[in-house]
């Protein structure tokens, strides 16, 4: 746990029974959600970038023999990496719950928090699990007809962009809530940045049309430039949520600014 950070908090009501200090930290539930988010993204990175080698994605224009070879080369990585994703997919909800909580803390209608939570609750199904299922089924029988392997390959990589609407509308919901909020829960510039993230989901759409070039699923625009924006966005919101938890005062007014930790 982030003890260094929690020590800088404003003093909390000391009425809670003294039975193990950490368990009585009233922010523990928020920190758990934050750390689960960190753990999820790390395991996601290991499974997709290192084990299965599905990120960065292989080429959309490959022909049958090359696709079969790709399944062969990554047989164990796909099966093991995606088994890990099957196991932990539900923990992706922690980030969405924390983001919904940020909106409950804002001076906006609770509808924003609930819309966001519902929009994102099944984001993992079209955006990740279908990819994992298709590629797992492909990898588990290497002797399958190459034409069927190629079908599963296309299904896998096209499904990976299947969350277009979820991220588009979800980012707009969060962004609008931040811009309208008067409690200064999250900075306005991050609200506007949600617009940039929403647009990446428009940019990715042509990957269902082009089999090669910058707009294909492995293309410089549809994949690499988008990934940079998504990376900046994800890094920003993880740090901002951490900041938000540190500032949390369990009130309903303006969220206080973080006090600088005293230097010793």
């Amino acid at each position: 746990m982030n003890t260094a950070a929690t020590q800088t908090l404003a003093p909390m009501p000391a009425s809670a029974p003294a039975r193990g200090k950490r368990r009585d930290d009233p922010k523990l539930e928020l920190w758990i959600a934050w750390w689960v988010t960190i753990a999820f993204y790390n395991i996601f990175t290991i499974a997709f970038f290192i084990l299965s080698r599905t990120q960065p994605p292989p080429k959309a224009w490959w022909h049958l023999p090359r696709i079969v070879q790709w399944f062969d080369d990554n047989h164990f990585g796909i099966l093991f990496g995606f088994a890990m994703m099957f196991l932990i997919v539900g923990f992706s909800i922690a980030a969405n719950a924390l983001i919904a909580q940020s909106m409950r803390r804002m001076s906006v209608s609770p509808m924003f928090a609930y819309s966001y939570l519902i929009i994102y609750s099944l984001a993992g199904v079209p955006g990740m699990l279908l990819t994992c299922i298709a590629l797992t089924v492909g990898a588990m029988r290497p002797d399958r007809d190459p034409k069927l392997l190629s079908l599963l390959y296309d299904m896998g990589f096209l499904s990976f962009s299947g969350t277009m609407g979820i991220f588009l509308i979800g980012s707009l919901v969060w962004g609008i809530a931040i811009v309208l909020d008067n409690n200064r829960v999250l900075p306005k510039w991050f609200g506007y940045m949600n617009l940039s993230n929403a647009l990446t989901e428009v940019v990715v759409a042509p990957c269902v049309i082009f089999k090669a070039g910058p707009l294909a699923w492995d293309g410089s625009i549809a994949y690499y430039i988008n990934m940079v924006i998504f990376g900046i966005y994800t890094g920003a919101f993880i740090m901002l949520l951490r900041n938000m938890i540190m500032r949390e005062d369990f009130g309903s007014g303006v969220l206080p600014v973080l006090e600088k930790p005293p230097r010793r």
């Binding site: 900075p187 306005k188 506007y192 940039s196 042509p206 910058p214 625009i221 924006i229 900046i232 901002l240």
Partner: protein, 207 residues
Amino acid sequence: MTNVVSAGLGRSSGGLNSKAETELRASVIPGQPDIWVLVLLEAFTFSSYFVVYMIYRMRNPGLYLHSQAQLSLQLGVVNTIVLLTSSWSMARCVQSARAGDYGIALRDVSLTILLGLVFTVSKLFEWVTKTQAGLTFTSNEFFMFYYFLTGMHLLHVLMGFVFLGVVVYQLSSPARRSQEVIETGATYWHMIDFLWVIIFALLYVMR
């Protein structure tokens, strides 16, 4: 990051009207400084699209030149003038609101919206005529970039109408009129303008 932005760019509230205060405006950003994070992020994103376009273009310049001949340079020039004028009337809107002439400001922003609509309609008209001529998103690489870049830009224009709508909402009642919100909307609209200037140069004019 919050601290960097607010300390580096910062000013917290708008609504400065009198002349003396106008003098004090030296070294401040109009509107919320936060909007500049979006402007710069989108600027860098579009720049990377432009560089990708240039690299692909130079692999096959003949195809691009031949395809460019199918575009109407005149329409591109008209589009540019329309957007430049809309930006100008938006700048006037900010000046008028700053001076307290809210009626004139409302007229200026209405002109901006009108010109934005003209731009949108002319873009749709251009797409329809090109599509009818058999030049579609998948026709060749140039037209892929053409529809992609103009489409992404038009999406920003459509979102710009939301910002302008908020400006109209602010101006239309004495109870609101936040100079900060008006200036934020203006900054967003000018972004549309400068992005188009580069798209016009790269798609229509360069050889």
